[in-house]
């Protein structure tokens, strides 16, 4: 939805507006031309729009001022005094003020979209570096989001292509392994893969029970293996213990014989006495004979006698120890024999408790007698290696099935992955092609649209010069870099900066700005052009102005400031399409009043006002009508290439111009005037200029008599002659030109001259011969 039309702009203390300034905007006119001499405040009006729309004051930028905020307010005012208010025709408005150092617009929803181009910025985009140029138009062609997603697709393709190579290598690797297994197995079946499929379906645990039985059998056999040696060793220990006991017994008997017959009993009595004296030291009498004689020193004497019996005692102790050792050795030997018998039974269980495969040899039954064990072990010793081999063979078989199964599974998986990739990758590649194609086409089409638009607008100003073939292209070797080219002398893609004149470049810069602004939501955009016409050379100004008129209607509103005086004069004479344009003139700026408006009234309108006064002033009417008639005759004589007296310097007078409209032409001149009838329908009414011109020839002297100089002849004439002259001129100009649509200067029809919108069609096209 497009935003409402503008009603009024009010500027308070921004830049040159030392006093509040209001710019009323005429309803129904989307173009406002603000004319003013230098230092009249034109840029302040542009600043106000930029302040409101963008929160900045661009006219101060790039002037070496650094941060410009401190210069935004008028001299003698504070930043808080600054305000810009834009009122709209629908009653809404938006007011921008400075809060701290920020511009705050309230309500933000009604903040207008504003694009400002100043004279100093016209060439900014054309002369910018390609990267900066790209930045300026990136809002139209920035597809970085799509590019990032495109990169992800490219990455996926790269990864999958890598995965495909790995899968292929694995397919080969696993097929080689299967072929090797197949060859090692003697190439059974028709081919390695069907063989591997059959083999891998075998139960890898089928031999587990036999392997477990083999392990048990070997463990049982291993336990029996050292019994013969251990039994012999135990038997030797018994034998040696017995020999030691016999020897100790003999030595003890020899000792008893040596000491005394009853030495043993005496030694027992002495030991008992010493134990008694430990408990009852220093007795008064002997505990055996109860005599007090020689009781003193009894303890020492008992100790001395016992010492003489120690050898006998040691021999007796030795005898006891060797007897105990014999007993222990005999117990150990018995226990070992029992264990041997048990382990032999264990082996027998392991041997007889499983149905062995034919390739596993078994020994004879284990002997019942441990003495025969050694012989049995010797006879069966060679079997242990065979059992081990049988176990290893079965373990290897199990492992082989596992390995084969894994190899086959990996092979199948990678073959499948490869097949899936063979289908997927072409589709992904096609998707990437589409993304790349569409992205290029998208950006190219936008660039072509912008370039076409620039060329179209440029052609309006420079028709037929062949400079309208504009190209915009992204540099494929650089990111975000925009090259700009134009046609010049048959060469396309030439940098305009290198070939165009300054004036052509200025127009070009303006066209680029307009084309970009028109692409970005123009119906909601206020376009502000600050004095951009002044840099264009004279022959192109009129077409530039026509172009601006044509382009302005695309925007919400267009405001153009200018100090180009001919524009003012052409508006004054109604040469331009005043109907869609509001013309505003600024008086010279003063530090007391700031910006002020001057009422500008076109001359035709002024004549109408003079004629409407009561009573009309004949002198003023004639003067104004004379100037307008000269303008009309100047226009007609140029249009029909009439003969006019040639003289050096000085303008043509009414006396020169009026007779130059030859009778044949005068009789042929007629105008089709587009007008609404009573019912409101538009239709052409043909009006001849002949009677008007004839009458003007008759009364033209009135102008000189009344309107130019003091002339006593005027005393003789009636005021009504002067007023009649004025009325006839008004009739001529109203027939010939439309105050809103200008003068008929266009011969495109090939039949007549027409003004804009063809509200006037002037016949004939050429002077009759």
């Amino acid at each position: 939805m497009s935003a409402a039309g503008l009603k009024k702009l009010t500027i308070e203390h921004l830049r040159g507006s030392v006093a509040p300034f209001a710019l009323p905007l005429e309803q129904g006119k989307k173009l406002t031309v603000v004319y003013g001499e230098n230092a009249s405040g034109k840029s302040t009006i542009c600043d106000a729009f930029e302040f409101l729309g963008k929160g900045r004051v661009g006219s101060l930028e790039n002037r070496g001022l650094g941060k410009t905020n401190k210069y935004w307010h008028s001299v003698g005012k504070k930043p808080t005094d600054v305000a810009v208010t834009l009122e709209n025709l629908d009653g809404s408005s938006c007011r921008a003020i400075i809060v701290k150092s920020d511009v705050v617009a309230n309500p933000a929803a009604f903040r207008p979209r504003v694009e400002v181009l100043r004279r100093s910025q016209i060439l900014a985009l054309v002369e910018a570096k390609p990267g900066d140029r790209y930045a300026a138009i990136s809002r139209f062609i920035d597809v970085s989001g799509v590019e990032t997603s495109e990169a992800a697709l490219r990455q996926l393709i790269r990864d999958l292509a890598g995965n495909g190579e790995v899968a292929l290598a694995r397919v080969r690797e696993n097929l080689d392994a299967i072929i090797q297994f197949w060859e090692a197995a003697g190439k059974p079946g028709t081919d390695p893969l069907s063989w591997a499929d059959t083999e891998s379906k075998r139960d890898p645990n089928a031999a587990d029970a036999e392997v477990a039985a083999l392990i048990r059998l070997q463990a049982a056999y291993s336990r029996l293996n050292d019994y013969p040696a251990r039994l012999k060793s135990a038997s030797d220990v018994v034998k040696r213990a017995k020999e030691a006991a016999t020897e100790a017994e003999q030595q003890a008997q020899q000792c008893v014989l040596t000491v005394a017959t009853d030495a043993g009993e005496v030694m027992g009595v002495l030991q008992a006495a010493r134990a008694y004296l430990h408990k009852h030291p220093s007795p008064a009498v002997c505990p055996l004979c109860e005599s007090a004689e020689r009781v003193e020193g009894l303890d020492q004497r008992i100790t001395q006698r016992l010492a003489s019996f120690s050898t006998l005692q040691m021999a007796q102790n030795r005898t006891k120890e060797t007897e105990a050792a014999v007993q222990r050795a005999e117990q150990q030997w018995e226990a070992l024999r029992d264990n041997a018998k048990n382990d032999a039974e264990g082996f027998e269980k392991a041997r007889a408790g499983f149905v062995w495969s034919a390739d596993i040899p078994m020994p004879a039954a284990t002997p019942q007698d441990t003495d025969s064990l050694e012989v049995w072990l010797t006879a069966s010793a060679h079997l242990t290696a065979k059992w081990k081999n049988a176990e290893t063979a079965r373990q290897d078989k199990k492992q082989f099935i596992g390995t084969l199964r894994r190899a086959l599974r990996t092979y199948m998986e990678n073959v499948q992955a490869q097949q899936e990739l063979d289908v997927l990758l072409p589709k992904l590649n096609r998707a990437l092609e589409i993304v790349e194609e569409e992205r290029r086409a998208f950006t190219d089409s936008i660039l072509a649209r912008i370039a076409g638009e620039v060329g179209r607008i440029y052609e309006l100003v420079h028709p037929g010069e062949g400079l309208n073939k504009i190209s915009l292209a992204l540099d494929p070797s650089k990111r975000a870099s925009l090259e700009i080219g134009a046609s010049f002398c048959g060469e396309t893609g030439a940098p305009p900066q290198a070939y165009f004149s300054d004036s052509h470049l200025d127009t070009f810069g303006l066209c680029v700005f307009l084309a970009l602004a028109a692409m970005d939501d123009p119906e909601n955009t206020i376009l502000v052009l600050d004095d951009v016409v002044a840099s264009v050379d004279e022959p192109h100004v009129e077409r530039l102005i026509e172009m601006l008129y044509a382009e302005a209607i695309e925007f919400r509103h267009c405001l153009i400031t200018t100090h180009y005086r001919p524009w003012k004069e052409k508006l004054r004479w109604g040469w331009l399409k005043n109907g869609q344009c509001q013309f505003v003139e600024l008086a010279k700026w003063t530090n007391q009043h700031g910006l002020t408006l001057i009422r500008s009234v076109p001359d035709v309108e002024r004549l109408r006002i003079l004629l409407a006064e009561t009573p009309p002033d004949p002198q003023l009417v004639c003067a104004k009508a004379g100037v307008i008639l000269e303008a009309a005759l100047d226009f007609l004589t140029q249009l029909y290439e009439c003969s006019v007296p040639r003289r050096p310097g000085g303008p043509y007078t009414l006396g020169d111009l009026l007779p130059s409209i030859a009778k044949k032409l005068r009789n042929a001149l007629q105008v089709e005037v587009l007008a609404r009838d009573a019912a409101g329908a538009l239709s052409y009414q043909t009006k001849s200029l002949t009677p008007i011109l004839d009458e003007l020839i008759r009364i033209a002297q009135a102008r000189n008599v009344f309107g130019c100089h003091f002339n006593a002849l005027s005393f003789e004439l009636l005021d009504s002659d002067a007023i009649g002259f004025g009325q006839k001129v008004l009739e001529l100009i109203e027939t010939l030109a439309d105050p809103d649509a200008g003068w008929p200067r266009n011969s495109k029809s090939g039949k007549y001259w027409a003004n804009s919108g063809e509200t006037r069609r002037l016949h004939p096209l050429q002077q009759p011969t």
Binding site: R139, F140, I141, D142, V143, S144, G145, V146, E147, T148, S149, A152, L153, Q155, L156, D159, L160, V423, L424, K427, L428, R430, A431, I434, V435, E438, R439, F442, I446, D521
Partner: protein
């Protein structure tokens, strides 16, 4: 108003659908992330595989 990325993402997904590379439903889901640059490699694979399976079904 669509950003350039959004407009382009719409154009591309519409063409991918036309060429049978993704389904219309997948295109709808893809579009926002596509325009924002948030599509990861696996986000591309799945819809293309799904369209392929759908196409393969009798």
């Amino acid at each position: 108003m669509d950003t350039p990325s959004q407009a382009l993402a719409t154009r591309i997904t519409e063409r991918l659908v036309r060429e049978g590379l993704i389904t219309a439903e997948a295109a709808k889901r893809l579009q926002p992330k596509f325009a924002e640059g948030k599509l990861r490699p696996e986000d591309w694979r799945l819809p293309i595989e799904l369209a392929e399976k759908k196409e393969a079904k009798p």
